[in-house]
């Protein structure tokens, strides 16, 4: 082995594991994060294989119409709803809808927020001032009312609901990324790269943004939980996706809310599904926060 090779070898050994590798190691040792990940995997599994797992379609009528549905039995695990549909199938298909809604609306909020946040953080001065005032205005309106307003404005299609919920998350992401960028901009490595003549946009995209992303990723995970609840809440007040017969957990809850006594199971199962799925995302988000926080690293 030549001296140069030996040096290279040594350098390799000293290479730190990197933020993400470290984070994954720490996540694996966090029981909360593992339980959360298991919960999320379960719902992803239900969503992907809904048609294999269930024996009936979500809108298929298998029992008699009217009445208050029938309670859980060995044939229909979660009972039947008042339209005689298998409730287990509906809850399982609901996972598909809720995950879809969560992913799409968080992506909407995340991407708009990221663009606004990086523009504000990078350009600073009046651009920053203007964008942050717009964010302030959005934050001054209660987020659920904002979502209600947007749905009323855009209409009650599934896509519109996802956009509305996503829009309420824009301020959060924009602020987080802006804060991160402002902190990174002054750091030594950015000054070093700048003095070496690295062009601005490249600096922003290759160095500053990637290094500001960890709080954003944590927030995105937690926002999945918020989005699932928010869509269910919109349905609950009668402003959710309006396609008839859609197996949406919030809608299923709302449909049975006025007849609690006759059909508690009709409220219980979709409610538990919402709680478990949001719990999963919250647990993973918490775990990620601990894993990515350099302060806890020592």
């Amino acid at each position: 082995m030549s001296l140069a090779q030996a040096e290279a070898h040594e350098l390799e050994l000293e290479q730190p594991a990197g933020l993400w590798k470290d984070a994954v190691q720490r996540l694996k040792r966090n029981p909360g994060a593992i339980i959360g990940a298991l919960l999320i995997s379960m719902f992803v599994f239900l969503a992907l294989f809904a048609d294999v797992i269930t024996s009936y379609g979500p809108g298929e009528q298998v029992g008699s119409l009217g009445g208050n549905g029938s309670p859980p039995s060995s044939e229909f695990w979660f009972g039947l709803d008042k339209q005689g549909r298998d409730y287990f199938s509906r809850v399982v298909y609901g996972a598909r809808l809720s995950l879809l809604v969560g992913v799409v609306s968080v992506s909407v909020g995340l991407s708009i927020g990221l663009v606004l946040g990086s523009i504000a953080g990078y350009f600073g001065r009046w651009v920053d001032g203007l964008l942050m005032r717009i964010i302030d205005i959005m934050l001054a309106i209660p987020s659920f009312l904002l979502a209600i307003g947007l749905v009323t404005l855009l209409g009650r299609g599934l896509v519109q609901v996802m956009i509305a919920v996503g829009a309420t998350q824009v301020p959060l992401f924009a602020r987080l990324l802006r804060g991160g960028i402002l902190a990174q901009k002054e750091s030594d490595y950015v000054l070093a790269a700048r003095s070496l003549g690295a062009p601005g946009p490249r600096l922003l995209l290759r160095h500053i943004i990637p290094n500001s992303l960890s709080p954003v990723i944590v927030q995105a995970t937690l926002s999945m939980a918020t989005a699932i609840i928010e869509v269910a809440a919109l349905s609950f007040v009668g402003l959710g996706p309006s396609q008839p017969g859609l197996p949406e957990w919030g809608l299923m809850l709302a449909d049975s809310a006025s007849r609690l006594e006759q059909g508690l199971h009709l409220v219980l199962f979709p409610g538990i599904a919402i709680v478990l799925s949001t719990l999963g995302f919250n647990m993973v988000g918490d775990g990620l926060r601990e894993a990515l926080d350099p302060k806890l690293k020592s």
């Binding site: 005032r133 205005i137 309106i141 009323t152 939980a225 269910a232 809440a233 007040v237 809850l253 508690l264």
Partner: protein
């Protein structure tokens, strides 16, 4: 300090103007309109036009906005198209209902949350700590309407201990000098009324207070953990101070800073975020009022209500910042 408060108050003006312009454009962009909402889908064109003229909706939008702002500055929020009542009058009815609910909920959260967080920190990584972390995680993950329905089912329907809806029994008539029903009942020395109002308040307050409870407990735990590792706590213990005095005077007092902040911010959220709880318990507050207004395209109510919310949120944030600066000399000196 005073300069800071004044500057922040001045900054509010453009934000509120921005909100009002946005709202003004927003309500007019909504499909349908107050005339259709009042008359129904099959209204004739003439009757729609007549109502719109009556409401001044046939004029150019900048004229309408100018008139709106002029009235606003004089404290006139306009008239509800649905109830024909001045918006301000309705606000005086609805807002106390929401304040009463939000404060009861926050009280529940504080009374349980701070001791829970404190105990968890004292038993760091012990059973109680893990249990409280888990419970607060569930609390955060529980949709408020689901919790509200479950509480209603168990305590109102099954056990029959508490009423299911409203602020007070429909058969009871109490005087309303303030519209804070609890205060009204106390002021008029109607003790049965006090009990009745309290009974109506319990379930909605618990439902609404659970998420703040979880958050307050988590923040208290984290703050106390931080402080427990401080040198001055070790010193206080080393000089033989009674542990309960250390906890009270050194730990809690210093740990309260972030907790106070969170309590303030959460109260702001509760004042504006009670839509779902109010829906489940038919609580006649701001949330259900706004929902109705949007449904019936009641322009003046939507504009007035949300503008009021925006003012409220901004003032709460300001109060939090001020109290923070007041409690923490380091921040106070840097301003």
């Amino acid at each position: 300090m005073l300069r800071f408060v004044v500057r922040r108050l001045l900054q509010l003006i453009p934000i509120l103007l921005g909100v009002s312009i946005l709202l003004f454009a927003f309500v007019r962009a909504l499909p349908g309109g107050p005339a259709i909402a009042l008359l129904g889908e099959r209204a004739t064109e003439e009757s729609v036009e007549r109502i719109e003229t009556e409401l001044g909706l046939d004029q150019p939008i900048y004229v309408q906005y100018g008139r709106y702002v002029r009235n606003l500055v004089q404290g006139d929020l306009g008239t509800s198209t649905r109830s024909r009542q001045p918006v301000l009058e309705e606000l005086k009815q609805k807002f106390p209902a929401t304040v009463e609910l939000a404060f009861a909920a926050m009280l529940f959260a504080i009374i349980l949350g701070i001791p829970l967080g404190f105990l968890a920190a004292k038993r760091y990584l012990g059973f109680l700590d893990n249990a409280s972390l888990f419970v607060s995680l569930i609390g955060i993950s529980f949709p408020v309407f689901f919790l509200a329905l479950l509480l209603k089912y168990v305590f109102a329907i099954k056990l029959g201990w508490l009423p299911t809806v409203g602020r007070v029994d429909v058969t009871r008539s109490i005087e309303h000098p303030t519209n804070f029903y609890l205060l009204d009942a106390v002021l008029t020395r109607d003790w049965e009324g006090v009990v009745d109002v309290l009974k109506h308040l319990v379930l909605p307050a618990i439902a609404l207070g659970t998420i703040p409870l979880a958050i307050v407990a988590r923040i208290t735990r984290a703050a106390v953990l931080d402080v427990l590792n401080e040198d001055y706590v070790r010193t206080a213990r080393a000089k033989g101070l009674d542990p309960s005095v250390v906890d009270r005077r050194h730990v809690m007092r210093n740990a309260m800073l972030p907790v106070v902040t969170v309590i303030g911010l959460q109260t702001g959220l509760l004042l504006t975020g009670a839509v779902l709880t109010e829906t489940v318990f038919a609580w006649p507050g701001m949330g259900s009022w706004m929902l109705e207004a949007i449904r019936f395209r009641d322009y003046a109510v939507i504009q007035g209500g949300i503008l009021f919310f925006a003012l409220l949120v901004s003032l709460t944030n300001l109060a939090v910042d001020v109290s923070y600066a007041y409690l923490n000399p380091k921040i106070r000196l840097s301003r």
